[in-house]
Each structure stands twice: as structure tokens, then as C-alpha cells.
């Protein structure tokens, strides 16, 4: 046995170089040409500037890691991660047939899923990898049908959990072992989710026999129950955490009548009505507010930073969008916008602004709303839009028509957060655009407040820079046009010479008639009167 030789240190460079972009242009990835070409662009002022483009970089699609450090590409053999200024390959992970991936929020771990069950290599369907070392940390088999991601991470990456029938298993990192070597037995467990900011798990259990359904919040790792809410007549629940972890909304579908289907433990529900249970996580003992909704809820979204939420409700053609605010002690309606064509909500990552979109079969209607007073700033459309993506700073929105959804007019349009159309980019068989995420800001709240206070000073500097850039661009364009015109003029001179020299031929071909300067004959108008007939009419007295 020989001790392993130390591998030479591979310097990947500054993986976060993109944050130091002097003009703060964000990057975004574009897949086009039906999937054959993948390109990374910089969101520059007049048109996107290409940073890197590779043919067949990925075989299906791509994903950015949650903090934007890595670009993941999919291949038949597994996943590759790319990063750094030159997008070099950072790490490779072998998982044949991989279809889905997920990253831990801290970017230390990546989970891959492949449906292939290979008995020879004892391949597992779900594998957890350590990204830095590329080592396989743990694998799982996929027993039941679930939605991806099957393993859910706590926000700091210390824990991850998964559901198996009647069981919630929580594992800790880096050991990947079961926390306290014991799973939680929860009969009937349907779904769980982590708070995006704390190690708190929320899960819900449907009603069983005479026991009502309930939503429970527990603290990890202590497993201390922080809050239990009993709910009656529950058909289904859906959990929505606010991005800062300040609130949890559980959308509850309630029934008036339930009929049991045969011997199976399934019910048929009718007479559904809805409400939201709003948990105030930061307040003592987590009080819960209830908001009733008359109609079917199509979409729900928390404002990422703040205490507002919006949801789309109703049935076509009477669809409305309502805005609510959570205040100490009560939840109040801000306003409801009626008769809207919307099936998706997209809040700006910075809060306050929201795009109401009617995607796909609603033909791409887009409305830009300022939630502070719920006024519509702009009503526009990107015909047949299939996707909407905010950049991570909340300054720009992209609406896109993906070739995967619609076969013509593929491309993306860039809008300002107020709904002003900035650029229209058409790309042959454009498929997907993803903004490169940014890691959370390193500034403290006081520092951010100080910057906002001194905004006027910074605005002056920016205006000067902008003005300079504008005039530069103008002169650039003028110079370019001048060049093009000069080139063309020299061609024109040659063409005119040729034309003159061929005059003889033209005369030849047209039997000596000079047709070069054939003008229309000036028509003189002459009025000529002709006597048509003479008629005598006797006028009666």
C-alpha cells in the first residue's frame, strides 16, 4: 500500500469575480438554437454583451447555484460545474442518467437524481455530493413518488430532511447521519418545509378519523414544538414561507362535503372554500391570523422583503389580484385589482414592485404594479410569453418566448422595473434565460441605511457617468455610420462608372431608344367641349 500522493493545488481563481463588475451589470445565461448553444451575457445598457458561448455546453438545460457561484450543466454521464472568469470546469460528478439537481442554499452540497437503477454499480437514485471535494457523501433510493426536491435543506446547510411514509427524517451535515439517530414518526405526514432563515420546520398532517388536520412548527435540532394549529374540514394545504422567514402562509382548501371513495383512504371533496392561515413567526408564541377567500386561488406570492402578499383568485374571465398587508394585530386588505388577465405573480427580489403575468394561454399580458399604493405603472404585452425572470437586484425584468413552449418568435425582451421596454432580442430557437443569482449582501443594515441617506451624492456621480456613456455611444454610432457610408459611396462610384460605360449596350438592346431617362410625359390638361344634344322643353304656364 502506498500513501496517496498529494494532488497539486488547482487554483480556480476568484469564483465571485462577477460581483466586482464595475458598472454592476448582471450576468445571465441563455440557451438557444434548440439547446445546442449556451451563452453567458452581460446585461449592458444598449444591448447584451457576450461573455462566453459554447456549443453543446449542456445536453439538456442548465442551473445556476443559489448564490451564483457555479453554473451546472447536464450530461449523460453526470453533472459538470463551471465557474470563475473563464468558466473553467470546477468539478465533475458522475451520475449516469441524471435528470434533476438541487443545491444546498450555502452551496456546499449538491443533490443529484437519476431514475436509472443500476444493480451492478449499486447506483443510488439520489446522491449528495460535497461540491468542493467532489466526493459522494451519501446516497438514497427513491421509494415513493414525490416532487423534486426530495431532500430539503435548512438555510445554513446544517440539516436536510426528507419524507417517507409516516416519517420525517432529518439528517445533519457534514456527517450525513440521521439527527440523534432517530426519525420523527408522524402518522399521515403529507408535506414539510424549512424556514428560509431559521432551523424551523413546518409540516402538516391531514385529518384522520376524528382527529382534525393540523399544521405544526418545530425547532431543530431540539424538536421543540413551537406552534400547533388545528384545522377543520381540510381537503389540502400548501405552505408558503416569506423569504425572510418572518411569516408562513398556509393556504387551506376546505370542504363542505367529503365522500369516502371505496375502501381506499381517499376522499372526494366538494363545495370547496379557501382561507389563508398566516403565522407570525417573529412574535411570541407565533400567533396565527386567518384570511378567508371567496374564490379559487390560482397563485400566491409573498413580497420577498416586507410584510405584503398578493394572490390571484377567481375563474376566467373574472380574475382578480388582491394585495394584503400584515400589520401588528391584524391583516388588512390594501386593494384588489379586478378583471385582470394573470396566472402568475412575480415580485421583484427587492420588494415593492410586482409583475402580473398572463403567460402561455393568456397570450403574454404583462402588468407592472407598484405595491406601495397598488397602482398599475404599465400595461403591456409580450405576445405568447412563456417565462418572466427578475434579475437579482430587482432592476430589470425579462419576458421570454421559449422555443420549448412556442415554436415561433423566440427571444427575450428586457424591461425596466417600471415596465418600460428597454431591449428586444430575438434568438433562433431561444429556449431559456436565467439570471445569475447574487449572494446576500455583505453590508450591514446600518451601512445600507447610510448609503440610502447619501443617495443624492451617489446619484450625481452616476448621472455624470451615464451622460458620458450616452455621448460616447452616439459618437460611436455616427462614426460607424460614416464608415459604412464611405464604403458604400466608393461602391456607388464604381457602379456609376459601369452604368455609363454600358450605355452603348443599353442602346443596342433597345434598338437605339434611350430609356435611361424616360420620364412620364407631362400631360397638359385641355378642356374640350362637345355639343351632345339639343333638347326643347316647353315650360307650362
Amino acid at each position: 500500500w502506498e500513501p496517496p500522493k498529494p494532488k497539486p493545488y488547482h487554483d480556480v481563481g476568484n469564483l465571485r469575480y462577477f460581483l466586482q463588475e464595475p458598472d454592476c451589470y448582471d450576468q445571465f445565461s441563455v440557451i438557444y438554437d434548440g439547446g445546442d448553444r449556451t451563452a453567458i451575457f452581460k446585461n449592458t445598457a444598449r444591448e447584451p454583451v457576450l461573455i462566453e458561448e459554447r456549443a453543446r455546453w449542456t445536453e439538456t438545460y442548465i442551473r445556476w447555484s443559489p448564490q451564483g457561484t457555479y453554473l451546472a450543466t447536464f450530461h449523460a454521464k453526470g453533472i459538470a460545474l463551471w465557474g470563475g472568469e473563464k468558466f473553467e470546469q470546477i468539478m465533475r460528478f458522475s451520475h449516469p442518467g441524471v435528470q434533476l439537481i438541487d443545491f444546498s442554499p450555502c452551496e456546499r452540497y449538491m443533490v443529484t437524481f437519476s431514475p436509472i437503477l443500476s444493480t451492478q454499480e449499486d447506483q443510488q437514485q439520489i446522491i449528495i455530493w460535497d461540491i468542493r471535494t467532489g466526493m459522494k457523501k451519501r446516497g438514497f433510493h427513491c421509494e415513493t413518488q414525490s416532487t423534486w426536491p426530495i431532500l430539503k435543506w435548512s438555510n445554513d446547510g446544517s440539516y436536510f430532511g426528507r419524507i417517507t411514509p409516516d416519517t420525517l427524517s432529518v439528517y445533519e451535515t457534514p456527517s450525513m447521519g440521521l439527527l440523534e439517530k432517530k426519525s420523527l414518526k408522524i402518522t399521515g405526514l403529507r408535506d414539510f418545509s424549512w424556514s428560509p432563515s431559521d432551523n424551523i420546520i413546518a409540516y402538516w398532517v391531514p385529518e384522520q378519523q376524528n382527529v382534525p388536520a393540523r399544521v405544526t412548527l418545530i425547532q431543530m435540532p431540539s424538536r421543540q414544538e413551537l406552534c400547533i394549529k388545528n384545522l377543520f374540514n381540510v381537503a389540502d394545504c400548501k405552505m408558503h414561507w416569506q423569504k425572510n422567514g418572518d411569516y408562513l402562509c398556509v393556504k387551506v382548501d376546505r370542504y363542505s362535503k367529503a365522500k369516502k371513495i371505496d375502501e381506499k383512504d381517499q376522499f372526494k371533496y366538494s363545495g370547496l372554500y379557501y382561507n389563508f392561515e398566516l403565522f407570525r413567526i417573529r412574535e411570541k408564541q407565533i400567533p396565527v391570523d386567518k384570511v378567508e377567500v371567496k374564490e379559487n386561488v390560482i397563485a400566491f406570492a409573498w413580497e420577498p422583503v416586507g410584510s405584503r402578499f398578493a394572490f390571484i383568485h377567481g375563474e376566467s374571465p373574472r380574475i382578480s389580484v388582491s394585495f394584503y398587508q400584515i400589520r401588528p394585530g391584524k391583516v388588512e386588505t390594501i386593494k384588489t385589482l379586478e378583471r385582470k388577465q394573470a396566472n402568475h405573480l412575480f415580485w421583484s427580489p427587492a420588494g415593492q414592485f410586482i409583475v402580473l403575468a398572463g403567460l402561455r394561454n393568456m397570450n403574454g399580458v404583462l402588468e407592472f404594479v407598484d405595491a406601495s399604493d397598488v397602482t398599475v405603472m404599465a400595461q403591456t404585452e409580450h405576445f405568447m410569453a412563456t417565462d418572466v425572470e427578475w434579475d437579482s437586484t430587482g432592476r430589470y425584468v425579462v419576458s421570454a418566448v421559449s422555443w420549448w413552449g412556442h415554436k415561433v418568435d423566440n427571444g427575450y425582451w428586457i424591461w425596466s422595473f417600471q415596465g418600460r421596454l428597454l431591449q428586444k432580442i430575438q434568438l433562433e430557437r431561444f429556449c431559456q434565460l436565467l439570471w445569475r443569482p447574487r449572494p446576500p449582501s455583505l453590508l450591514s443594515i446600518e451601512q445600507m441605511r447610510a448609503i440610502k441617506k447619501n443617495m443624492k451624492k451617489y446619484t450625481e456621480q452616476f448621472e455624470v457617468m451615464d451622460r458620458l456613456r450616452q455621448s460616447n455611444v452616439s459618437t460611436e454610432i455616427l462614426e460607424k455610420r460614416s464608415e459604412m457610408m464611405n464604403e458604400y459611396k466608393s461602391f456607388r462610384e464604381r457602379a456609376t462608372e459601369e452604368w455609363e460605360s454600358m450605355k452603348y449596350r443599353r442602346l443596342e438592346l433597345r434598338d437605339g431608344v434611350d430609356t435611361d431617362t424616360l420620364e412620364y410625359e407631362e400631360n397638359d390638361e385641355e378642356i374640350v367641349e362637345f355639343l351632345l344634344k339639343v333638347e326643347e322643353v316647353v315650360v307650362e304656364e
Binding site: V408, R481, T496
Partner: protein, 231 residues
């Protein structure tokens, strides 16, 4: 003729006519040339068979020395009248050529293609000069006889589109600056794709014919003639 005729035209002197036939029913695509001074019982003076991609558009070269052909694969060629040989060709377009038109002095050739672009070439050399980009297939393109303007007409083929925008009259003719390749105007009005465009010889108007069955004649208003591009 045995198969459908795709394009036809009079030569500069009017002495010759040419037409091209389709590649169907086992017959190859052909260029037929007739000498009107010498019609020998309906037989063409010259037949040039095309074995490569079939011809989708053709015009006479400037001085009746060659025929300029546009093909289904995007190629543009010169066929010599006397020998029937292909004497020049280029492949700048990626899809079929829908229309070919010459400038007034015949020094420039504009091609309209299904690949959503129109391109400008030097007639004699087939040297590629300019490209005008759109998002829809271009069915026809014309050069203004008095200005550096180009008009493009096109639109999505009916069978490729299940629904279009609810805005009616959405099919438009687009005006580009010949040298700068930048679009500066659009004229809406057609209810279907535009299949053919042509400037009036005096340059003061243009006409467009479309799939909707209408021919629209447009007279430019004074602002068209005052329009200038800065450079």
C-alpha cells in the same frame, strides 16, 4: 409546360423571355429561354436543367448575359445564357429565396429569404454587401430607385401559426436604410403575409400584394422625403 412555372421575366431588350419550372413528377427543375424573334413552334431556344436545389425565384441579369437564380436551399447563382453553365454562386442565406429584385441601375441585387433576412449583393460578383434582419420570413424585397431605402414584405406562413396577435392588420411592410441596415419605418394594413413588394419607378410610391388578396398602393407623404439619417 410540363410542370408548374415558378418565375418568369422579360430580358432588358424584351427580345428574350425566361421562365423556370418546378421540380415535380419526376422532372427536374429547368430554366427555359425563348427568343421571341425566333419562336420555332413553341420549343425553347435554350433549356438549362438544374440538378441541385430547385429554383424558387429568378431574374434576368443586367445585359442578358446571364440569369440570376434563387434556390430552395438559399443559394443564389448565375447561369450563363449561351452555355447554360453555372458561372457564379453564393450561399449566404440558410433557407429558400423567395424573391430577387435588381436596383434601378442593376448594379445591386436584393434577395428575400425564408430565413427571416433580406440581403444585398453586388449583381456582377454576388459579393454580399448588406443584411436586413427581421423576425418573420421575408417574402419580397425592393430597392427604392431614388433613395437608399429598402422595403421588406413578409409574414408567418398561415400553416405555421395557430393564433396571431389580436391586433388586426398586423402584417407590415418594413423600411430599412440600405447602407446602415437599420429599420426606420413600418407600414401596417395587410391582414395576411405580404407576398410581393415593388417601388414605383419614380420612387414616390410603392405597392404591396398580400396573402389577404389585397394589393395596396401607398403614396409617400412629405415626411418620407424629408427623412434623414444622421451620419
Amino acid at each position: 409546360t410540363a410542370t408548374a412555372v415558378r418565375t418568369c421575366g422579360f430580358s432588358f431588350s424584351g427580345r428574350y423571355i425566361m421562365y423556370t419550372t418546378d421540380k415535380t413528377m419526376g422532372r427536374p427543375c429547368e430554366i427555359h429561354i425563348f427568343d421571341l424573334n425566333d419562336i420555332r413552334n413553341g420549343e425553347p431556344t435554350m433549356v438549362i436543367p438544374i440538378s441541385s436545389s430547385k429554383i424558387t425565384s429568378a431574374v434576368w441579369g443586367p445585359y442578358e448575359e446571364y440569369i440570376i437564380t434563387g434556390h430552395e436551399n438559399g443559394e443564389i447563382c448565375h447561369y450563363d445564357l449561351k452555355s447554360g453553365d453555372k458561372i457564379n454562386s453564393c450561399k449566404e442565406h440558410s433557407k429558400q429565396i423567395n424573391d430577387l429584385q435588381l436596383s434601378k441601375d442593376m448594379s445591386m441585387l436584393i434577395s428575400a429569404s425564408k430565413d427571416t433576412t433580406a440581403k444585398l449583393f453586388e449583381t456582377a460578383t454576388l459579393g454580399h454587401m448588406k443584411t436586413y434582419k427581421t423576425e418573420r420570413p421575408v417574402n419580397s424585397a425592393s430597392l427604392s430607385p431614388i433613395y437608399d431605402h429598402v422595403v421588406l414584405g413578409g409574414g408567418q406562413e398561415a400553416m405555421d401559426v395557430t393564433t396571431t396577435s389580436t391586433k388586426v392588420g398586423k402584417f407590415d411592410a418594413r423600411f430599412y436604410h440600405l447602407v446602415f441596415e437599420e429599420e426606420f419605418g413600418r407600414v401596417k394594413g395587410h391582414f395576411g403575409p405580404i407576398n410581393s413588394t415593388a417601388f414605383h419607378p419614380d420612387g414616390k410610391s410603392y405597392s404591396s400584394g398580400g396573402e389577404d388578396g389585397y394589393v395596396r398602393v401607398h403614396y409617400f407623404d412629405p415626411s418620407y422625403f424629408d427623412f434623414r439619417f444622421e451620419f
